[in-house]
């Protein structure tokens, strides 16, 4: 594939390095000197990526994918839109201000961007994943992402004491934004047994948006389990700290955010309903002692400044805080952070780069997951104009095959939706299908 990357910063370089072996890559950067160390096989042009001339000379008309990853959000969004005007390509833009992503999330293809990579949200999601296993969420034993991370499939084991035991699938309407598609019981897999009651030890397979599936994990957790009142302190209420707190809003974690800027602290207190916001300088030892920060079960050091983060992490080490997750922004200090020997270092730029790389690699590989004991398979499929499922309802589609299959979830206009039997299938929908038969046969027919 031909890929054009605008912006040769850390993200652009990481993406280029990961993809240059298999793809034909061009790069644009305003600063000619930053293009010096790029290998020969990559075409480089120096110039402003917002100028048509520069884009054309870098071969935008042949590009199949355009990645805008300069340091400025506005520039990235504009480059994406420009690219859409000049050629029919897949556009990816990186942003750090969540307001762009918020607009894009609710409107299909806003700004002409096909995929918007939001630095703070992605990083926050990664941080929460690092934290999960200490909270009361029912651990999923198996999980997969589909449709570029819009649909999640998880498998949960029902422990004794869960609210769900004894209920039937059709009684669980309170999970309307989820699809419970099947149960593994004693290594037998059953597809949508609407009249079967859940039993202890069942492993249930659930489809939905990642957030809803994670919430489901919390809600089915055994009530016999003593809820762990974990305390979690976020030091630095910038975008990453804020997004992390936002993702953990409805969890049993008791969260505090420390932010030095009074206006930002006010903003946080207005936008977070559960977290407690404190206005303080986290590099002061008195703050640590008076607010008992060392007693906290988990610490996230997430200011926008690496020097502050290193210092705060060192103070945390000094007080022997049990778990410290630090955010390191600049690539050059990454090894320094790692030498601090903290629980984890999260590097937002790396998170963004790997997300872009995954995007490109996923786009063209049909994602098929085999269930254990070869009892079935999960795969995703995009409905094009020739598909025989087009304009059918989900029920008609499910009945048109000899092999049992269930549409677990679908993505329409960038949103995951849970289909009902009479949802009709439209052009461009992405379906995630679970079958106990052979996936290839179904894919062929569709």
């Amino acid at each position: 594939m031909t890929i054009l990357i605008v912006g040769a910063g850390q993200v652009g370089m990481s993406v280029m390095e990961a993809l240059s072996d298999d793809h034909e890559i061009s790069m644009i950067d305003r600063n000619a000197s930053s293009l010096d160390h790029i290998p020969f096989e990559v075409n480089v042009s120096a110039g402003n990526g917002l100028e048509e001339e520069v884009l054309k000379s870098a071969g935008i008309e042949e590009a199949e994918i355009v990645i805008a990853t300069t340091s400025e959000d506005h520039t990235n969004v504009l480059i994406g839109s420009m690219a859409k005007l000049l050629t029919d390509c897949f556009t990816i833009a990186r942003v750090s201000d969540p307001s762009f992503a918020n607009i894009w999330d609710t409107r299909e293809g806003a700004f002409g961007i096909d995929a918007m990579i939001d630095r703070s949200k992605l990083t926050a999601r990664q941080i929460t994943e690092l934290l999960w296993f200490q909270s009361t969420r029912q651990e999923s034993i198996n999980e997969e992402m589909y449709c570029h991370g819009k649909v999640k499939m998880s498998e949960f084991k029902l422990e004794s004491g869960s609210d769900l035991i004894g209920k039937k699938i059709k009684q669980t309407n309170k999970y309307s934004e989820l699809n419970i598609v099947g149960i593994f019981r004693n290594s037998d897999f059953m597809l949508v047994p609407k009249d079967t009651s859940f039993e202890e030890g069942d492993r249930i397979t659930v489809f939905g948006s990642p957030q809803k599936v994670d919430d489901f994990g919390i809600s089915i957790a055994s009530t016999e389990m003593e809820p762990v009142q974990d305390t979690f302190d976020i030091l630095g209420g910038g975008d990453i700290g804020y997004q992390t707190a936002l993702l953990l809003e409805n969890t049993p974690l008791s969260i505090r955010i420390f932010e030095e800027d009074p206006d930002r602290a006010q903003f946080l207190s207005e936008h977070l309903s559960q977290a407690m916001v404190l206005q303080a300088d986290i590099t002061e030892r008195t703050v640590w002692e008076e607010e008992n920060i060392p007693e906290s079960d988990m610490l996230l050091v997430s200011t926008g400044d690496d020097a502050t983060n290193v210092l705060a992490t060192l103070i945390g080490k000094d007080y022997e805080s049990p778990r410290v997750v630090s955010v390191g922004h600049e690539h050059q200090y990454l090894s320094l952070f790692e030498s601090l020997d903290v629980t984890r270092v999260v590097h937002p730029r790396e998170v963004v780069a790997s997300s872009i790389i995954n995007y490109i690699q996923d786009s063209y590989i049909g994602n098929v997951t085999e269930l254990e004991h070869e009892s079935g398979a999960v795969f995703e499929i995009k409905i094009d104009a020739e598909s025989q499922a087009l304009d059918n309802t989900v029920e008609e589609l499910e009945k048109s095959f000899d092999q049992p299959l269930v549409v677990g979830a679908m993505v329409r206009q960038n949103h995951s939706i849970i289909p009902t039997p009479d949802t009709s299938i439209k052009l461009g929908d992405q379906l995630v299908i679970l079958t106990t038969g052979k996936a290839e046969d179904i894919v062929e027919k569709l």
Binding site: A265, S269, E270, H271, M276, V287
Partner: protein, 498 residues
């Protein structure tokens, strides 16, 4: 650049409002053609409002209402309409309200939906049914004015944090202030009219099936006109106590609705009843009513009332009438014990929901104040904590919370100053009164409630006070209705300068 308040613009817009006063004045005029009152009693005020209205309107052919002018327009409208609306009492020349200060008092009490009266004898012997009907109509008109004021004007002026209500108001699709007011007012007035007609129909219906012999057509209309605006005037000297328990039970839910934000009621009636139990103010309002009713019930059952049905009805009715500031009486609560009277007195400071026709401080301001109080306690323990106040889903900005608490302080302060002046004046004219009586008179005026305790009790009147006391009370009613700030700003010298 405009240097001062555009007085011509204000007068012109006031003229436009005043000329419309001739329409409601026409109702008792037509009635008087077939009745006992001299038609001139109403014809002259009709002519005055038309002529003065049209003349004032000519002062500015293209009035442009700004923020500053709005304050003056609102304050002036209430005063001007009150003055013209008081003319019939003077012209009729019957009873105590024929004296100018008393006519002014009665009219202000009507248009501010207070319900305090200076009529020495409330009976058809002294006053014609036409005058008594006009008295009821003034409250109904006042209610219409309050709906526009509360939903469309005060939020724009950010009076005491009332900008919060705006999100609820219908017709928000309009950006410019004038069409928005027109659209919002039209919708809510329709609701107001429908509720009034429904109540009137129910009251008269109960008469027709024999459940309330005293509630004839005249009384049904008269009480429908004063319930929805939380007014409290009644052509009966004994207020609602003159009617059967059926009538009292019918009026109870309508008083309750009148105390709810009209925009919320409109949303609930137009297919979204769930809005109600998601609305913090509505829930808190309902909670206060039930909780206080239970307290009053416990205090009066077994001594004042022997029968449970009576105890429940009168407790609920009286709590409602004080909280919503309607000012009716289903029973002479002056005969209740002092514990119950003290609780009722405290209820005078609650007021209806914001955006209702009720007066007083308003429930949402108390919610914000209580939350501010707890926030203050919290930040005393955690000095570094930054906390935001939330009411339902809305975040209350610090500035808004500050305005709300200042509004309450100013309200209490004005109430106390009012009580002090009334006290001194009463002493001067040799009127010996108890503290609760004086306090309740001031609170009943500023809260637009009407009756208080003792001398100003539900079966009595405000006649005994001196003229200066009455002027103070008129001012309290006027200021209380306009949520203090709207009126007070025009008394600041800087308001009139550049």
């Amino acid at each position: 650049m405009r240097k001062q308040v555009d007085i011509l613009c204000v007068l012109s817009l006031f003229g436009a409002i005043l000329k419309w006063l001739s329409v409601p004045l026409g109702v008792p005029f037509i009635y008087s053609l077939f009745g006992r009152e001299n038609p001139l009693v109403f014809l002259i005020p009709v002519a005055v409002s038309l002529i003065v209205g049209f003349l004032l309107e000519r002062l500015d052919t293209n009035p442009k209402l700004g923020l500053r002018e709005t304050f003056l327009l609102v304050s002036l409208s209430w005063l001007g309409v009150t003055l013209v609306g008081g003319l019939p009492y003077l012209l009729a020349g019957e009873g105590t309200v024929a004296i100018p200060i008393n006519a002014f008092f009665e009219s202000m009490s009507g248009f501010t939906t207070t319900g305090a009266t200076v009529m020495g004898s409330i009976s058809f012997v002294t006053h014609s049914p036409e005058i008594m009907l006009w008295r009821q109509i003034t409250q109904w008109l006042g209610g219409m004015g309050i709906i526009v004021l509360g939903i469309a004007i005060l939020p724009r002026l950010s009076i005491g944090g009332s900008e919060l209500i705006e999100a609820e108001a219908p017709g928000t699709q309009f950006d410019r202030i004038t069409p928005r007011i027109v659209e919002t007012a039209r919708i809510l007035w329709l609701l107001y009219v429908v509720l009034t007609i429904t109540l009137g129909g129910l009251l008269y219906g109960s008469h027709l099936i024999g459940l309330s012999p005293e509630m004839d057509l005249y009384n049904a209309v008269a009480h429908a006109l004063t319930t929805m605006p939380t007014g409290g005037f009644s052509p009966e000297a004994e207020s609602i106590a003159a009617f059967s328990s059926t009538v009292q039970w019918i009026i109870i839910p309508f008083m309750f609705i009148a105390g709810v934000n009209y925009a919320l009621t409109w949303r609930a009636f137009t297919g979204n009843p769930r809005k109600l139990y998601r609305d913090t103010e509505f829930l808190f309002y309902s909670f206060i009513l039930l909780f206080t009713t239970a307290i009053i019930l416990a205090m009066t059952f077994g001594n004042t009332f022997e029968e449970p049905q009576n105890a429940i009805r009168h407790s609920l009715f009286q709590v409602l009438t004080f909280v919503t500031t309607a000012g009716y009486a289903s029973h002479d609560f002056n005969t209740w014990n002092s514990m119950a009277q003290t609780v009722l007195f405290m209820m005078m400071f609650i007021g209806g929901c914001a955006g209702s026709t009720g007066g007083g401080i308003k429930v949402f301001r108390w919610i914000v104040t209580i939350k501010t109080f707890f926030k203050q306690l919290f930040t005393t323990i955690y000095p570094r904590a930054v906390q935001s106040i939330r009411v339902g889903k809305n975040v209350i900005k610090n500035e808004t919370a500050r305005r709300v608490t200042i509004m309450i302080l100013l309200y209490i302060f004005t109430f106390l100053i009012g009580a002090l002046i009334i006290e001194i004046e009463s002493y001067r004219i040799g009127l010996e009164l108890e503290t609760l009586e004086i306090m309740s008179a001031s609170a009943a005026c500023i809260g637009n409630i009407g009756p208080g305790f003792g001398i100003v009790g539900p079966m009595n009147n405000y006649l005994a006070f001196s003229s200066l006391s009455k002027v103070v009370m008129i001012f309290l009613m006027w200021a209380g209705r306009l949520e203090l700030f709207t009126l007070f700003v025009i008394f600041i010298p800087k308001y009139w300068r550049n």
